[in-house]
């Protein structure tokens, strides 16, 4: 059996699955049951200064569904903890005492001045918590007060606050980043310069989930008005994966530990974050959708996967995919594939045909009796037929062997060659001249 235990910046947990700072981790009652269910760690719901913030008293979540009301994304306008600081601190201390083998990290967000940070770090010192996470991410409510993503969007502030925290505390420090930026790398670089031990990402993405077409209020509606909230859940995973990969391969942040967050729903999502360079993962929406117990699938699935792959520990999976993330111009233009439809699996829905015929390269033929076939001399291997086919593995991409002729271009499939040296590339021509 593979070893799921992880040591993330010196914080040990029996598995790499932590609950992200959010309602699932906002009180002792929840965190105890999360540990009992098997979660390896939690990041406590973000603490702030007293008096606590107040939340809206109408709906704070919006939703985006796939068919059959499967939750694809949640959006929230919740603020940081709305309970008094000393209550949270007392509870944190009690839980950590009873669960020494589980990770417990405290998320923090206080006004952007050194005194406030010094003060809160002092207050949490004797809770026994394993580390702190600086919430530079919340995109709503707190940002308007100069906190959360208002800090996370300005690399200088990130660096400054991180430095204060490292100065006034010996705890391992994770900086939680906001995805509401055009390029995630400066934020991560700033965290590293400030002395962060790790970054975690992503926090939620600015969004409006919908509009009520009777009242014309954005959802969730508070007395007829709505505001942008933070999106999370399966739908944001691609954004998060990209950002994790960028930090993992950026020379200025290579080796900076990453806690991957955003849409982790199954063991597979978690494994993908790990492979791209995250040292562990955090999740929130999956627990909010299905309850704490869902962690058992993450555990059993990752174990089975690691065993099947002959990978002994989570650490050995971390970063396996990072070297394969590259820039477009280095992709092999001599890698030629063709879509192939398995006629035995095909249920003849015709979706591949509609997609290719109307929106791609008219490379699928349709017979009178609904046989769909790919024409190799037209197929550009765009993949849309594979993507829209309702039957898994019915349409697959098959690579043309080196030395064969691509019937579409009439060219022989050759060795690796990319855009930088392609004759159509003006800069490649210049370089050659």
């Amino acid at each position: 059996m593979a070893n799921l235990a992880t040591d993330f910046i010196g914080i040990r947990s029996p598995n790499p699955f932590w609950l992200a700072s959010a309602p699932p981790t906002d009180k002792e009652y929840n965190v105890r049951r999360a540990y009992e269910a098997g979660w390896g760690g939690v990041v406590w719901k973000t603490l702030g200064t007293d008096p606590p913030v107040v939340n809206v008293n109408g709906p704070r979540y919006g939703v985006m569904y796939a068919g059959d009301r499967q939750v694809m994304a949640l959006n929230n306008i919740e603020l940081i903890t709305d309970r008094p600081l000393d209550v949270n601190l007392r509870e944190i201390k009690a839980v950590k005492r009873d669960w020494p083998d589980r990770a417990l990290v405290i998320s923090l967000m206080v006004p952007c001045d050194e005194e406030s940070w010094k003060e809160i770090l002092h207050r949490i010192e004797d809770t026994g918590a394993d580390g702190v996470e600086l919430n530079f991410g919340c995109p709503h409510g707190m940002a308007e007060r100069g906190m959360g993503s208002a800090v996370g969007q300005v690399p200088e502030y990130i660096e400054m606050v991180t430095r204060w925290v490292k100065q006034h505390s010996r705890m391992p420090c994770i900086v939680k980043l906001t995805p509401n930026v055009t390029d995630i790398r400066p934020a991560a670089e700033a965290a590293r310069r400030g002395g962060a031990d790790a970054v975690s990402l992503i926090n939620t993405v600015n969004s409006i989930t919908g509009v009520n077409l009777d009242t014309f209020s954005p959802e969730p509606s508070i007395d007829g008005k709505g505001t942008h909230g933070g999106l999370c859940g399966p739908a944001v995973k691609p954004i998060a994966l990209h950002m994790v990969a960028e930090i993992a391969r950026n020379p200025a942040t290579v080796g900076l530990p990453i806690s991957g967050i955003g849409g982790v729903t199954t063991w597979r999502d978690a494994a993908e974050f790990l492979a791209l360079g995250a040292g562990n993962v955090q999740a929130c929406t999956v627990a909010m959708t299905y309850g704490f117990k869902v962690v058992q699938e993450l555990i059993s699935g990752l174990s089975q996967y690691l065993d099947e792959k002959g990978i002994d520990s989570v650490g050995d999976l971390v970063g396996r995919a990072t070297p394969n993330v590259t820039d477009w111009q280095y992709l092999n233009l001599n890698y030629v594939t063709k879509a192939v439809i398995d006629q035995d699996l095909c249920i003849k829905c015709g979706r591949c045909y509609a997609a290719c015929e109307d929106t791609s390269h008219q490379a699928i033929s349709m017979s009178a009796d609904r046989v769909f076939e790919v024409m190799d001399d037209e197929c550009v291997a765009c993949n849309i037929c594979v993507n829209v086919c309702p039957v898994e593995d019915c349409i697959t991409m098959v690579e043309l062997e080196k030395g064969t002729v691509d019937p579409r271009t009439g060219l022989v499939v050759g060795d690796y060659a990319n855009w930088t040296t392609h004759p159509n590339n003006p800069s490649a021509r210049e370089a050659a001249e």
């Binding site: 199954t266 299905y290 309850g291 869902v294 059993s300 089975q304």
Partner: protein, 445 residues
């Protein structure tokens, strides 16, 4: 070659191909795509009603989620941790009365998640990889199990896992109990019962002594003296009598014997069946005998039950299966006399009515032509060793499945608690094993 209409009792009423079709897997297994679509429908309910409805309390939402995420092996472990015969149960459980009956999508859409077939998908997939459990360090304790049916096998496996050595004694030549001799042929095709027993025994530490009957070759006193604990899981070996005249005619037999012979027949074309078959009873055994008589090519098969339709212990689903197979069901009629000249030719019934003092004949009678009469009016316990307290024809056990005799546990059909189902027997065997293990550990510690 004979046909539907060949008079009397004859073999080979149907061409081989039709027979093969008739006895093919029912319902058929799900392929990967079907399983993915079926699994997608599970809501992962909290404290799920399906779990509560399963006598072995399998974590159904969890195993379905594991199928969804492409880890059928992990799904199978979730199943086997609770029910080591999850493969057989996936095939034979009356799911419409158990897990699927409780599914919230049954309430929402009248169409439950196909839990049974998904369970089969996971276990079939993972069984190919061999026995997944290993044994704890040997404890030196020896436990006797009587009966290699589902209860005995479940007990033996759990005990072996805990490091105990187990000897199973069974009167029959093959292990498996009714999984091997009773369950309808189309529910357990391709010799599944035997393969599952072999897979289960692969854990090691279990010796099967076939052909050894309690009361004939071994005694309970002897077992209690030789072993640290005894588990009785010998099912219901006896069959109730008809109490109608002429029962001794040729062609009148116990349904369970007909079913066992069919299950054991190397070639179904050699199994003789009447043109007119009458099955007496209203339970699962009656349905299985009637349906399989039809599948063998009997022209007219009639099930006759003495009470009303809603009192039948066969589920609605099973009744529907019988009628769609072409079985005619007559209710509120009881057998009065079997007629014939050595060989049965006709059976006479009297209609019944429920009165204040129970069931009584109305005086009105009718007769059915019959080349064969299968009696399926209930099995009963047989040869219970002395000293065991009985109640309603079952060995009385407490919540830990302990009998009235110290060191003796009992479960499955022969003991009190729950319905007579494969899954209930597995739960009993497992729970008894845990209690035996706790008792032995306490004694050792």
């Amino acid at each position: 070659m004979s046909s539907h209409r060949t008079p009397g009792i004859a073999a080979g009423r149907l061409p081989d191909q039709t027979l093969a079709q008739n006895f093919a897997d029912y319902p058929p297994p799900l392929d990967a795509h079907e399983a993915a679509v079926a699994a997608d429908r599970c809501y992962f309910c909290h404290d799920a009603p399906c779990i509560t409805a399963c006598p072995t309390e399998i974590d159904i939402p969890m195993f379905i989620r594991q199928i969804s995420t492409g880890t059928a092996d992990a799904a199978a472990m979730t199943i086997w941790d609770q029910n080591i015969l999850g493969g057989m149960c996936a095939r034979v459980c009356p799911v419409e009365q158990l897990c699927e009956g409780a599914c919230v999508r049954e309430a929402a859409e009248g169409k439950p998640v196909e839990i049974g077939r998904l369970q089969r998908y996971a276990t079939d997939h993972a069984m190919d990889r061999g026995q997944p459990y290993t044994r704890a360090a040997p404890t030196g304790h020896r436990i006797a199990v009587v009966g290699a049916g589902p209860s005995g096998l479940a007990a033996a496996h759990r005990l072996a896992r805990h490091g105990h050595d187990v000897t199973i004694f069974d009167a029959r030549p093959k292990a498996g109990g009714l999984n091997e001799y009773g369950i309808a042929t189309y529910k357990t095709t391709q010799d599944f019962a035997r393969r599952e027993v072999e897979w289960l025994l692969d854990i090691g530490g279990i010796t099967v002594e076939a052909g050894k009957a309690l009361g004939r070759d071994i005694s309970l006193d002897g077992l209690r003296a030789d072993f640290d604990a005894v588990f009785l899981g010998m099912g219901l070996a006896g069959v109730n009598a008809l109490r109608a005249s002429g029962e001794a005619h040729e062609g009148v037999m116990d349904a369970v014997d007909f079913i066992a012979a069919l299950r054991q027949a190397p070639d179904r074309a050699q199994v003789a069946i009447g043109r007119d078959v009458v099955v007496i009873g209203g339970g699962m055994t009656a349905v299985d005998a009637a349906v399989q008589a039809r599948l063998l090519g009997a022209e007219n098969v009639t099930m006759v039950y003495r009470r009303s339709r809603d009192r039948m212990s066969a589920s609605q689903h099973e009744q529907d299966h019988a009628t769609t197979t072409g079985v005619k069901i007559i209710t509120n009629a009881m057998p009065k006399a079997v007629h014939g000249n050595g060989q049965v030719s006709e059976i006479e019934f009297e209609y019944t009515a429920e009165g204040p003092d129970g069931l009584r004949g109305t005086g009105e009678t009718f007769s059915l032509r019959a080349d064969q009469v299968f009696k399926a009016i209930g099995q009963m316990i047989e040869g219970v060793p002395e000293g065991l307290r009985l109640e309603g024809g079952k060995i009385v056990v407490d919540d830990n499945r302990r009998t009235s005799l110290p060191g003796v546990w009992a479960g499955g059909d022969c003991a009190t608690g729950g319905e007579d189902l494969t899954v209930t027997a597995v739960a009993h065997g497992r729970d008894a094993a845990e209690d035996i293990h706790r008792m032995l550990a306490a004694r050792a510690g």
